[in-house]
Symmetry: C2
């Protein structure tokens, strides 16, 4: 099966200048972006965007982040094939946190192979790795 084949379509987000201006970046020029799965509501991951990766995210309808450790842009799933297709995008009351609702392709969002990055719970271990989305 070719890696080119996908069942999802990218849909650019037509963010207005006013909406984009409402986003506040921190002293490093970054804003945290929460990624939540459509339909299940499961929180998949959190990563950071700068102004350029946010614009690229809106233009492509895919999630683009800024890696603070590698100091480079990365598009989620570009290497792994586990891409994220944005269906809704929100900014919070202070404009300093973003929320993207996505269709998650492939094996999930976490580089460990887990579907969500939040696969470890505090407290007595239940059969988790699932969060709210499993309900």
């Amino acid at each position: 099966m070719s890696a080119e084949i996908t069942t999802f379509e990218s849909t650019p987000i037509a963010a207005t200048a006013e909406q984009m201006d409402a986003v506040t970046f921190n002293e490093d020029g970054l804003v945290p972006a929460i990624v939540q799965e459509e339909h299940t509501g499961r929180v998949l991951m959190m990563a950071w965007m700068n102004a350029d990766s946010l614009r690229e995210t809106m233009a492509t309808g895919r999630t683009w982040f800024w890696s603070r450790s590698r100091k480079e842009y990365w598009c989620k799933g570009e290497t792994s094939g586990d891409r994220q297709y944005i269906r809704e995008a929100y900014y919070d009351c202070d404009g300093d946190t973003l929320l993207f609702v996505v269709e998650q392709e492939g094996n999930g969002a976490c580089h460990t192979g887990e579907y969500s990055c939040f696969y470890r719970s505090f407290g007595p271990q239940k059969d988790v790795g699932v969060g709210v989305g499993s309900v």
Copy 2:
């Protein structure tokens, strides 16, 4: 009706030392904490915890944050009555982001009066303010 009356119960989270040690704080001693509503899956807010507020959160089963602007601890809902009772708590693959699944009391999580802080969407305005949780 007395402000003392509540229909929710606090449940402390019995986090182990190993779990707490897995949490990585940034150079300011803070870690971002996403708050998601139980049952609806709705993402309500994101705020910051330091080591002390994280311990207090686990001990009380309520969300305690560190205000970067006011430089003080705050317990969500202590003033407004819109308290959050933690039902599940997760840390991510890198240990540098937390996720709390809560029962949200009262009028919601946002100081603006909106139920979720993520009440504004990018792109053409729909009848939103709802996120995934409204489905």
